[in-house]
Point group: C2
Chain length 273, copies 2
Amino acid sequence: MKRTAFFISDGTGITAETLGHSLLSQFENIDFDQVTLPYINNEEKAYDTVKRINQVAAKDGTKPIIFDTIINHNIRDIMATCEGFMVDIFTTFLKPLEQELQVSSSYTVGKSHSIVNEAGYKIRIDAINFSMANDDGGRVRHYDQADIILTGVSRSGKTPTCLYLALQFGLNAANYPLTEDDLEEETLPAPLKAHKDKLFGLTIDPERLSVIRHERKAHSRYSSPRQCQQETRGAEAIFNRENIPYIDVSELSVEEISTRILVQTGFERRLRS
Amino acid sequence: MKRTAFFISDGTGITAETLGHSLLSQFENIDFDQVTLPYINNEEKAYDTVKRINQVAAKDGTKPIIFDTIINHNIRDIMATCEGFMVDIFTTFLKPLEQELQVSSSYTVGKSHSIVNEAGYKIRIDAINFSMANDDGGRVRHYDQADIILTGVSRSGKTPTCLYLALQFGLNAANYPLTEDDLEEETLPAPLKAHKDKLFGLTIDPERLSVIRHERKAHSRYSSPRQCQQETRGAEAIFNRENIPYIDVSELSVEEISTRILVQTGFERRLRS
């Protein structure tokens, strides 16, 4: 079965898309064609959007599902005329919240993903710069400024996780690879020894690692099952011996790895997204 | 006025947090203490969470606001006993969606931010690696593989935007800085000339640029208002002359810049978050 879903907003559309995507993922047997329409912030764009939705409705022979977070009443009224099934995110929840909080909401557009304050902006940019500069063990002299240092074998997901931790949580996240020498000797690299309280390990199923490395260097020693098995075994031995907390990332997305690290370490985020 | 808000999930909590944050930002006069509790995925954790919420309720002297996306019925039932004001995100919308779609939802935990498929995972990691390797004009020989190349003066937000485009949309996003020589001569740097269809410019209010640069190098020529004004004027002159689309990022978050770039260029994302 195929249906079309629209995520529509007068801002970035991130909220409509995040919630809509979560809800639709609960209907596994339906194949949703997903369209995000951000910045629908005037009546002309609203009429165009209604036209587009109606065309899809005619083509699909069924109502598109519309997740919207539009705040402006005039634009909402225009959208309400479309041939879609409306999931009205804001109105549904704002009324009961207004009652509970005993104040009117401001009905202001684009509040949630705009620059909240100078301090938050600076924390985020500094964290991204820190994580870029301290990627892959390239530099170790600023580890005193790190909030967290990820370690693990090559291609265990250290870099994307660091960038996510910086971008979403404002954390100064460095990462340092475990090399063959470290893994054979099962010893913690010297630059990490002074920062054991900031270390977090990533490990991965050797078969999955082999597949990922194969994409990079096919049929190499680097990507061979045997090498991947030796390396992951060595990494886990180091983590266990040195009491470094770690997780197996084989089945996890970058978002899940990052969230689990925060839960497991208790490290506080510096930013709220 | 101060209230406490909890974002509670049996998965990462990203959906609860994103929607909750959007809704709360509509109540500007209330100061919300915000707490995210991910992976509340068994009854023991649910009871602990209820206890924690009730303690906050007693301390605040008012109901905490609870945004939850818990799927499991037993855990939901336990959560429902707490002294909070429940904003029940999933149940509210799943029932009407089931009716419209004429299927039952799967009520499966952690669908939305898990690894969706191998192809998507690879696109994302490749995009991040590309963007890291092609940051700040460090390398230009792979621009044929770029989806987009951002350009602008130093500290105009190129790097964070590229990383966001890679992480959220799976785009190969490179960036190349405009140097003083380029800006004085008002000419496009040679490595960019062959890729004009991929270029997008970032510009920024010179006063804001001066503040940002001041954080990096206080009282320098680099951060002086005069220098910032000359550089931004030069950058805009190049964008206008060469017909390069651009936006002023002064008041925009990384999310807003990235979304607007997609809208303005019509470039298709390779990933859905």
